[in-house]
């Protein structure tokens, strides 16, 4: 079950209280991600006028993920059924991501290497896998801490090769890497990179390497310097994401600041740069590990 521990430790840097319990914060972030991910896909596929009926598949998942994640995050004590449903919905997200990846890959067949730039974005559906995996990880309890031994309420126990913290850091690192590759390929459509795009590329690669470097270590083995580097990198992600939002909005606005919906959807997607901010926020939450995990409440 969800822990109510608000006390967290930011590696060896600091120890403080979160406004809400750590797992609830993570679940709320998952809820927000699920909803906005499906919303963004809705806008993208709507601009394509849902030419292929399968383009509707990812749309209902967002509201579902929003409901199950929010339910777990806000309920004082959720029943096992709520956990099972949430895990199934998140697993469905992983499946949708995999199917989407396959559909986008099939659409790229016959285009040579041009698909990298001009086809349906191959990597984009993997975001569903990422959110689904984080959603599942947020709903399970690791007991004992840093053991990789998970209790899934209503389902059972599982042993993972790495700790929960490392799993989440790996997901962030891979998410940053895939996001950076998307920046590289998507912006190539414009025939070259401008200054703001280079910022995203440099940050993306740097943050990916830092995060994957952290993921390779157990939390207790992360040095103070490495922890500082990771935290500052995640904070920088918030800045890069917001700056990217500004760059995209500036590009989308017409003369005199005119708002043309078509450009906001088809030209520079306003929500895309926020992925860096989103991953930065996730990194900061993950970096702040709960201090006490009462084991007697761990297993349903």
């Amino acid at each position: 079950m969800i822990s109510d521990t608000r006390r967290v430790r930011l590696y060896s840097l600091a120890e403080f209280d979160l406004p809400i319990a750590w797992e609830r914060a993570l679940l709320l972030l998952v809820a927000m991600n699920a909803f906005f991910l499906s919303f963004e896909v809705f806008l993208s596929h709507a601009s394509n006028q849902f030419r292929v009926p399968t383009e509707w598949i990812p749309i209902p998942w967002g509201p579902l993920g929003l409901i199950t994640s929010t339910w777990l995050a806000l309920r004082r004590r959720a029943g096992n059924a709520a956990y099972v449903i949430h895990v199934l919905v998140m697993a469905l997200g992983i499946l949708i991501g995999a199917i989407g990846f396959a559909f986008h890959a099939f659409a790229a067949v016959g285009q040579g290497w041009d698909w990298l730039i001009n086809s349906a974005p191959l990597l984009a559906p993997l975001a569903f896998c990422g959110v689904g995996l984080v959603g599942i990880t947020a709903a399970v309890r690791e007991d004992p801490p840093e053991s990789g031994r998970f209790a899934i309420p209503g389902i059972g126990l599982a042993q993972a090769p790495v700790t929960r913290h490392q799993q989440l850091i790996w997901l962030i690192g891979l998410g940053l890497l895939l996001t950076t590759f998307s920046v590289v390929f998507d912006h190539a459509q414009e025939g070259g990179y401008v200054f703001g795009e280079w910022i995203a590329i440099v940050y993306g690669f740097f943050a990916s390497v830092v995060t994957i470097g952290i993921a390779l270590r157990r939390p207790s083995h992360v040095s103070r310097g490495e922890a500082s580097l990771f935290v500052w990198t995640m904070l920088l992600g918030l800045l890069v994401g917001v700056a990217g939002l500004g760059f995209h909005v500036a590009r989308d606005l017409g003369p005199g600041g005119a708002i043309v919906l078509e450009r906001f959807i088809d030209y520079a997607p306003v929500m895309a740069p926020l992925l860096f901010a989103d991953l930065g926020m996730l990194g900061l939450i993950v970096a702040a590990q709960p201090v006490e995990v009462p084991s007697e409440r761990a297993i349903a």
Partner: protein, 490 residues
């Protein structure tokens, strides 16, 4: 590790980042070239061998038609449709009972798919087209609405900007030319353009391929002004000639080969297409405007009419057009262009009102029949509005000074003079010349009569004029009697 030293991870991160960024930097040129090559290949019709081979082998129609109609197959295989896996059957194959369908090789097909075939994938574009003058109103302008089904008639009536009460001499009878000339002629003449809005056997309206030439359906082709040249040319609507005479057309003619015609819809900027084209002004997502397939969406006046009227939502439509203009021009410049052009339109409408009065008077006194085109003066009256009046107005809004002057107003005045002289002769012959008191033919010098419309307060809408927001069916003529002055409709 001592805490004051930078962690080894930072060094790794900086080092790997430099390597990865360097790789992207090196690949940037290649990626960009690939993006350009890919889009230009789609638009130019130079398909890659992978597409052709795969599409032919996958499409059983293509295997036969590659020999029977190789041109069509080549066009299709070069298209974005083929690249996206859209085959012949997707558009041509129909149910057995489909109107106009024929049995062919064990299935049923239509030779010319209608917009219903496009609707499945391009719904927004198709529906925008259906509510535009390019759809049923284009056909009705030639034949009237008699051959519409009840459903098509209902669709026609639902089009907001259909002019339900055309005003002016010759407007209500222009369809009679279609009958006078006969189907042997009109099939090869009027219909080739007006078919863009033809009623189809399956109940749909129009044909998308009038602008999107089959079977490549190239974005680049549809975007170029030559596409509009197919119809918007000649004495009745010489937009093609006027455009080429304008600075916009000069820019297109001299530098258009280097413009970025293949930019994705909704992404066009003045960096891609640095001077106006037909499509940029009327359809493209450009400036503050999104893409539309309703060609009247940014138009404020019925310029095709003898006495021009404000379109429904004229003010909003004009603001949308100004939103396109403002990508390159200042607001003051744009307002002045409209101010001058509106004055020309008011002037032209005034002359045409006078010409209409001549014909009406002769008809009402029994000196002329009410049959269309049965007297030379009616041809003169028809050309006055249908050719010269329109040309003068189009020229005013499209920067075609020569067309406003010598191919427009001058020809109008000349026609009007001929009409007045001929009307006087008809009246003398009928013994009515001294008995009537109609305002034009009574020995008043021509220039004096025309100058009745020159009062600056009457025809010159001042800067900041608020245009009327008309409701469908409530058209108000733009004439000296109701030009908005200081924002107030007279």
């Amino acid at each position: 590790m001592p805490e004051h030293r930078p962690p080894r991870l930072l060094l790794w991160a900086v080092g790997l980042t430099l390597v990865l960024v360097a790789l992207v930097f090196v690949a940037e040129g290649s990626l960009s070239r690939r993006a350009e090559r890919s889009s230009s290949r789609i638009e130019s019709g130079a398909a890659g061998p992978t597409v052709s081979t795969a599409a032919i082998s996958a499409d059983k129609c293509a295997t036969c038609h590659a020999s029977a109609t190789p041109g069509i197959v080549t066009q299709h295989l070069d298209s974005k449709h083929a690249k996206s896996g859209i085959g012949c059957a997707n558009c041509h194959e129909v149910q057995a009972n489909h109107p106009g369908g024929i049995e062919h090789q064990g299935t049923w097909v239509v030779s010319a798919p209608t917009p219903n075939a496009c609707l499945g994938c391009h719904e927004r574009e198709t529906r925008e087209f259906w509510r535009s003058r390019h759809a049923l109103p284009a056909w009705a302008g030639m034949t009237g609405t008699d051959d519409f089904t009840p459903e098509q008639k209902a669709q026609y009536d639902a089009i907001e900007e259909v002019m339900k009460t055309p005003v002016g001499i010759g407007v209500s009878t222009r369809n009679s030319l279609y009958d006078i000339e006969g189907p042997m002629v009109t099939a090869a003449a009027c219909e080739s353009c007006h078919a863009i809005g033809r009623p189809n056997l399956d109940g749909s309206a129009g044909t998308c391929s009038s602008c999107h030439l089959r079977h490549t359906f190239s974005l680049e082709q549809a975007r170029k002004p030559e596409t509009c040249n197919a119809c918007h040319i000649g004495p009745d609507h010489p937009q093609w000639e006027i455009y080429h005479h304008s600075a916009h057309g000069v820019a297109y003619t001299t530098t258009g080969a280097n413009w970025n015609w293949s930019k994705a819809a909704g992404r066009l900027t003045p960096q891609d297409i640095p001077a106006a084209t037909c499509q940029v002004c009327h359809m493209s997502g450009f400036g503050s405007q999104g893409t539309t397939h309703d060609v009247g969406d940014r138009l404020s006046l019925y310029l095709f009419m003898p006495m021009s009227a404000w379109r429904p939502g004229a003010g909003e439509n004009r603001e949308r057009m100004k939103g396109v203009c403002s990508s390159c021009h200042s607001r003051e410049f744009i307002d002045n262009v409209y101010l001058r052009a509106d004055a020309v339109t008011a002037r032209v409408s005034g002359i045409e009102a006078e010409a209409a009065a001549i014909i009406t008077r002769l008809e009402n006194t029994g000196l002329l029949s009410k049959e269309p085109f049965d007297h030379p003066i009616k041809f003169e009256a028809f050309e006055l509005w249908h050719h010269w009046g329109r040309t003068a107005k189009f020229g005013a809004y499209m920067f075609g000074a020569d067309y406003t002057q010598w191919h427009g107003i001058y020809e109008m005045v000349k026609s009007f003079s001929a009409m007045a002289t001929e009307a006087e002769a008809i009246e003398k012959e009928g013994g009515l010349h001294d008995a009537v008191d109609w305002p034009l033919a009574k020995r008043t010098p021509l220039l004096d009569r025309l100058n009745e419309y020159r009062g600056p307060g009457r025809i010159m809408p001042p800067a900041g004029t608020v245009l009327p927001q008309q409701k469908p069916g409530g058209e108000k003529l733009m004439s000296p009697a109701n030009i908005p002055v200081h924002g107030v409709q007279k």
